[in-house]
Symmetry: C2
């Protein structure tokens, strides 16, 4: 199928770029002997998870039990739910996942660990636990050092689960080129100290799992960390470019749209808005970049309308024209589409249902 | 089923409030002899569209052809696609919809009208056209007066379609209590003048379709307008309250979530973020209102985390507790959920798949 046969709006993925992105991360992590457990939240597609595994990823990461169920299809050996599993309904589904793969869960409270342990023990499965630490984002996680080691000790005493190590997400480092190195050095020190304390308590961390997109090529600088969970690297997006972690040429996914109106002067309207792109913002103005009009400002959106401001727009675009938009944040855009298209040049090579979209529980 | 048996996050709809909202709008439009053609984008559920029709709505509105296909299930007699239909793929689906219901489409360009006309004529169907006018939002639409009447004349000459009248969306009126009355008066004058000019041109507007949520109880003040297309009124949300069009007690839909972390001081984290609520903002700070802690600030979100800032949070909430969140914008939240739950008191009375979610084309 030719791309002109696709209806719009549609996410199109340049497979050459995507494959280059996948190989680059596989090479980087292999070179530095880092375990690679990509977060599948970016693509939400088992076939792409399988590609990551084929390139050497040790497993996959997900946020929810319902996403774990979807990613089992990728044939994953080690699955991490990087989110506390709370409540009887999720725990019941969790143990079924644990029967099919080596399951690890990150937790930041004893309540959560106890719930997982009780359900696992009763079902006769064993689940690995990573103690989640707050290294600066102040979202979830216990404080590194004494509090983290204390929770690790508590976890190690519970039946049904076993301590695998630590997890953290350095989301407080937004821009590597700004204060990345300093924050990373402080983080590295906190991790090292925590690992010393853990050893002193007679325990061991097989896995120390961290990483984030802005820091993705500096993961090897954190002492003691041996696993990364990057997500966005498979496609990249405007926010990743602005964080300094990739260039515009590394962005694999754009959203193909149609110009539906030029009736208001100095703007054109495309058939995608917040329902197509999400309303996630960026560090710079605009809702995304129109690749055929980089001088234009994708100024505002409603659910179904994207308003692109461009002097003399009517001279350059007419109703029915198609333009590609590089979104601010590709992960949340993927969640809005029933299926996406892998293209090679102008040929549609793959049609993938987004099996993991809308998996909230 | 009891609500405690629902997994989270989940949209729960208080049916008593919803039914009161539906009746209030039905009464208002009946009293003022306004045609009511609710926009189904808020609920995206054919069964709720059918309830609106049963209460006297003349038809339903949608934004896309794919949504029209879904809403045919509601048994709708008059369906409006309030969005220009552009491109061969959509036109082919459009004529199939037109075989099953009386279809009207709003357009703001001759190119769009010609495409619809050609496809309709070839298929042997007849489609009504509303000429879309820009009354101040500057998104889509031709200027009222000469330009609007000119497009209406062009439309009236094309085979396969017939002129039904005008449509507009006064989205520039954000807050009725601020400058609503003045802007509405100017709008009313522009519509009246356009209708005079249309009559002078020997044409007639059977339908003049407008309205928006902040102006929803003032629609009868616009001279010549005889149809409204409200959407959000069925549930209402924080933004509608802040626009002045309803009170907190009129909000029918909240999102049930679970507290998953209290590990960082003076905050708790719920198991819903931008993937659950959308990242749509509000006129006031915060990502929504926690109904069990109205003094708290729902400060920030990532895809799966909602961070609620509250002094001494750990004393009031513990991991596993459930809280309801009134979202900023319910329409975009509905689009993120596979199914939603209608509740009466603490009993789950209905489970509705959100059949129209993710219909982008």
């Amino acid at each position: 199928m030719h791309i002109s046969e696709l209806d719009t709006p549609a996410i199109v993925i340049d497979l050459d770029i995507m494959e280059r992105n996948l190989c680059r991360m596989a090479d980087y992590t292999a070179q530095h002997r880092l375990r690679l457990r990509p977060h599948s939240k970016t693509h939400k597609i088992p076939a792409l998870g399988a590609q990551q595994l084929a390139l050497g990823a040790v497993g996959l990461s997900v946020a929810k039990v319902s996403e774990a169920e979807v990613m089992l299809e990728a044939g994953v050996q080690e699955l991490l739910i990087a989110y506390p599993v709370i409540g009887a309904l999720k725990l019941a589904r969790m143990v079924e996942v644990a029967r099919k793969t080596q399951l690890t869960i990150s937790v930041d409270s004893l309540e959560s660990a106890q719930g997982i342990a009780a359900a696992a023990f009763k079902a006769g499965v064993d689940i690995g636990i990573l103690v989640e630490m707050d290294v600066g984002l102040h979202r979830v996680g216990v404080t590194p050092g004494k509090a983290a080691v204390g929770l690790a000790q508590d976890v190690s005493k519970l039946k049904g689960i076993h301590l695998e190590g630590f997890a953290f997400y350095p989301g407080h480092i937004k821009d590597w080129t700004a204060d990345g190195p300093q924050k990373m050095a402080a983080l590295s020190e906190a991790i090292e100290e925590t690992l010393h304390q853990l050893t002193a308590a007679g325990l061991e961390a097989r896995i120390v799992s961290g990483g984030s997109t802005p820091t993705e090529w500096h993961a090897h600088e954190v002492k003691g960390m041996n696993e990364v969970r990057p997500g966005t690297y498979i496609f990249n997006d405007r926010n990743v470019v602005l964080s300094g972690a990739c260039s515009w040429e590394d962005c694999a996914a754009t959203i193909l749209t149609t110009v539906v109106s030029t009736s208001v002067d100095d703007q054109f309207v495309i058939d995608g808005g917040s329902k197509t792109f999400s309303s996630d913002k960026s560090a710079e103005p605009g809702c995304g970049i129109v690749t055929q009009a980089k001088d234009a400002l994708f100024d505002r959106m409603n659910e179904e309308h994207g308003v692109v401001v461009l002097k003399g727009a009517r001279d350059r675009f007419k109703v029915g024209d198609r333009v590609n938009v590089l979104p601010n944040h590709i992960c949340v855009a993927m969640n809005l589409h029933e299926q996406v298209y892998g293209i090679r040049g102008e040929t549609v090579e793959s049609i993938w249902p987004v099996a993991g979209r809308g998996k909230l529980q």
